[in-house]
């Protein structure tokens, strides 16, 4: 694709970077992190409900795994995933080294404990009275779980955003499993905002690095602003 920086940035200062490049990096970042967060949420919510309301063997172990996982170093996760998808690893036959799929896997592992942990706190704070009421009115166990999720919706949304915040801003695992690759036409294959910043800065292209940094900060600020708003009980929005 030919680059036309002049038509794309007529109003701004003439930045010496390529818009298509930036755009493809943002796209890869969002694609990887959002997919990982959606998958983590689908996994984490049932786990949080299970840990919150069921008694089973190994529950304390699972809880401490979740808590440890919330602060787990991302490079180590990257290392383990890279090994898993490498030729020597169990997933070697799928040919996933330096792919977005491998990046989604490692971000899933990073985001899931965060989303599970914060959701667990949220669903645990739903009163047993309210769950009993749903059951007493003829709800099934599934109905009671749905009521619990609905009651904890602000906390769960906070959990999802916190998971996204961790995924989008981490650099260690995506660098290792993704390899920070750009294609010959100058667009990102497995390069994310964070890994691009790392590379651009090291090569002295500070403008590009700064722009990417600013975009990342804005993304994270937006997410945090939403988290704070949700923390205030949904910002007074009426539920229906």
């Amino acid at each position: 694709m030919p680059l036309e920086p002049d038509t794309l940035t007529p109003l701004l200062i003439d930045f010496p970077f390529e818009w298509n490049y930036i755009r493809s990096i943002i796209y890869v970042s969002l694609y990887v992190s959002l997919t990982a967060v959606v998958l983590s949420t689908l996994f984490s919510l049932p786990v949080a409900l299970l840990v919150g309301f069921k008694d089973f063997r190994g529950k304390t172990l699972l809880t401490s795994i979740i808590n440890t996982g919330m602060g787990f170093p991302s490079v180590v996760v990257g290392l383990v995933v890279l090994f898993a998808v490498s030729n020597q690893g169990p997933l070697g036959s799928f040919d996933l080294v330096f792919t977005t799929e491998a990046m989604i896997m490692s971000q899933f592992i990073l985001a899931a404990p965060v989303i599970t942990g914060v959701s667990l706190a949220a669903v645990s704070s739903v009163e047993q009275n309210v769950r009993d009421a749903a059951y007493a009115m003829g709800g099934t166990k599934t109905d009671v779980a749905l009521v619990t999720i609905k009651e904890a919706r602000y906390g769960i949304a906070t959990a999802v955003l916190a998971g996204f915040g961790r995924a989008i801003s981490e650099v260690g695992s995506v660098l290792i499993v993704g390899g920070n690759i750009a294609s010959s036409d100058g667009t990102s294959v497995t390069r994310t905002i964070t890994t691009a910043i790392q590379l651009e800065a090291r090569q002295g292209r500070f403008e590009t690095a700064m722009i990417l940094g600013a975009i990342l900060v804005v993304l994270v600020l937006i997410v945090n602003a939403i988290v704070v708003r949700l923390g205030n009980g949904g910002g007074g929005g009426r539920y229906e």
Partner: protein
Amino acid sequence: MTLEAIDVHHGYGTETVFEGVSLSVSPGEVVAIIGPSGVGKSTLLRLLALFDAPNRGSIEYENQAVWDVSEQRRLEYRRRIGMVFQEASLFDASVRRNAEYGLRVRRSWTDRLRHELSSLVGKTNGTGDAIDALETVGLREQADQDASSLSGGEAQRVAFARALAYEPDILLLDEPTSDLDPRNTAVIEDAILEARRRGIGVVIATHDMHQAERIADRVAVLLGNDIIEVGNTETVFENPTDERTRKFIEGELIY
């Protein structure tokens, strides 16, 4: 449509709560359970609501032991029973959605999805039965308010309406008015009598002897691990057969 506890033994861990409790409720009657705090009134109501199986003895609905049937069958039984707790425990949603909950869970998943979608595009014309139930407790006008904006008394009235909306055969009430002022208590008591008029069988646990006298057809006295006396209200209050009943009632009436 009689719901019965038959020779029920129950407890928590090593603690015994019941040793052979029996109680029945039939359509169109109000049965009050009275007894000191901690004696097991809530426990008995939860057993009758099919929350837990008794350790021994049986719970029967229309002479069918409900714990001998499949979970699916038991769900059908559960869905003919309504329960109101001491705390309103409303959902964080509108009054209307609270009142409709019982009806909603009885729909098929496709129906529920369709209703949710049409309420998203603004067509929230509620189910008639839920609105009728709100009318019974005088809160029809509040249907579109947030449940969290209600006073404690109003919230409890919604909790009552919510259990009435799906027209259960049996209504179990666990001290439904113990936190309420006289006016809200009167609204609930009127609604209980209205439910009885419609043929619903009501069991109410209460600390309030006067309330039992006002609304109950029969009274069961729970003391120790047993129901020591059960009979029609006047007899139990005026001429109890058990000396402990007289002492308990006199003691309670002092307050």
